[in-house]
Symmetry: C2
Amino acid sequence: MARSSDAPTPSTPTIPSEPSPVLFWETVNAYQRTAALRAGIELGVFTAIGEGGDTAESLAARANASPRGIRILCDYLTVIGFLAKEHGKYRLTVDSAAFLDRRSPAYLGGMLAFINSAELSGGFSNLTEVVRRGTSLMPGSGVVDPDDPIWVEFARSMPPMMAGAVEFVGEVSAQGGARPLRVLDIAAGHGLFGIAVAKRNPQARIVALDWSNVLKVARDNATAAGIADRYELLPGDAFKVDFAGPFELVLVTNLFHHFDMPTCESLARKIHASLVPGGRVLTLEFVPNADRVSPPIPASFSLMMLGTTPAGDAYTFQDYDRMFRAAGFSRNEPLQVPRSPQQLIISHR
Amino acid sequence: MARSSDAPTPSTPTIPSEPSPVLFWETVNAYQRTAALRAGIELGVFTAIGEGGDTAESLAARANASPRGIRILCDYLTVIGFLAKEHGKYRLTVDSAAFLDRRSPAYLGGMLAFINSAELSGGFSNLTEVVRRGTSLMPGSGVVDPDDPIWVEFARSMPPMMAGAVEFVGEVSAQGGARPLRVLDIAAGHGLFGIAVAKRNPQARIVALDWSNVLKVARDNATAAGIADRYELLPGDAFKVDFAGPFELVLVTNLFHHFDMPTCESLARKIHASLVPGGRVLTLEFVPNADRVSPPIPASFSLMMLGTTPAGDAYTFQDYDRMFRAAGFSRNEPLQVPRSPQQLIISHR
């Protein structure tokens, strides 16, 4: 807020405590934040700064873009917290260096192909009507249609966002030490959760269940991780395919939120029937508090499901506890996943 | 962040100070904030809460919408700060009661017809290409095409957002007491700035300049304010029409930002030539600090101009000072407008 010393100081009359339109203004224009971040990523602005560009002119040359466009974009990205600017020069923040510079192993820019895809964002183009009807306006069953190609995009682009959770699932799965472990990874996607279990425990064998087009991505990742000989593919619909248990461990990562509670409970029953006595389920989810309005990321995930699914939701721990108990499980423990807005729920048969 | 007492406390491992993907996640999904606010306004949710509805069920009945949709929407609006929720019941915040309840005189919901119009938001649908080219991809000259009907929408819907600035322009114009005053209101829009001057000073006569379709709105407002007998219409293009001075006062509210600096300077020269000696210009604008990245609202307005105009910008006070001096003005004073993110610059001939 510092002003240049040669500018007269504007006279600021005392403002009484009263309503402010600031939040309204910022929110009606919030869609421009998404657009600006995307432009910065697509133009490689963060990478160009990481490589040493620091003025609008030098960045424009590196990004093959207009200096005026880059100047305005970089100023905006500074305002919304993705860059710092001092003495007219831009630099990356700690977050941008880690997640937005293409050279970083934690680069998240690839996620936009899924999270800002026309399919997902289209779910919010007429949210008024979605709220009227209480269900997605997307054709068919929204993102939960069989073989929806968006899940291939998901499997390809989401791994960096999931790094913390993948590591944590591996750790939790290894509690009790190395022992023979047959693992079912339901809606495996990129497969990284099951693969993390296999990497921690040489006696673990993974059965990865997903649509067949998605399983190609999981299989490639299993091969790259050197555990393909302990990695089996089970293509199909989680609600219909024979699980062919028994399993010691079942992984359900980011799946339940797509469905209504009775559907989730029916899946929990099916999982229960496939587990050995003492077997466990690890459920990775966006889990808001019982008030359903905190913490911000899990609580706001509910709207994502309203816009893109027929009846999905972000369920509370209380919801999951009730659901798993009704399906026959004896107890459930919630764990906060480090470096992630998600929780991991351990359910014991 | 409080959890219900019947939930086990999740174990939260200590997280070292390290990069966080939270801002990234919130920004890729920020477009949903705009969609949710719009849905809340269009469904009359804020008005329904103001009228006494406080549960998802009662609000759904009032808004003729799905209880599931309303519950998820209201939880989301709570997360992003537009509602409060306690014991499962929603209530308005101070800001929402003032600006989002249709019964409030300061209701801002009508603004969406302009600020979230397909035309304006379309300017950001491919921001990457806009930044590459350094100019709006909108057809013609973006929002500055002659007779663009969006300015009629602007004139109709923006007055509530401008209330603080309108009051302040009236006050500043009245400095020096009541005296004969011929006033030119350039790009008058709704006309409220000139009308505020006329209401403060019974000897003031206003000439309102804008596209003829827009001037109908201004004339109606002048009539409603009871000053139509001192209100003259001057339809046309501010850069081409004969101002027919001299004037003691010229108002330039939210106009300069649409153009590049040489164009602004040519307009300032034309204004200078139409002023009496000692005459003043009042320029209402989004004026970022010299760093161009603060305060947030004026600084981020630059992106709005990148997306929607050929060469507009949010200029600093230093820019305006240089421009008005080059056009012959002797000095310029910046004033912060109370209850507004904008500044008023007084330029003296």
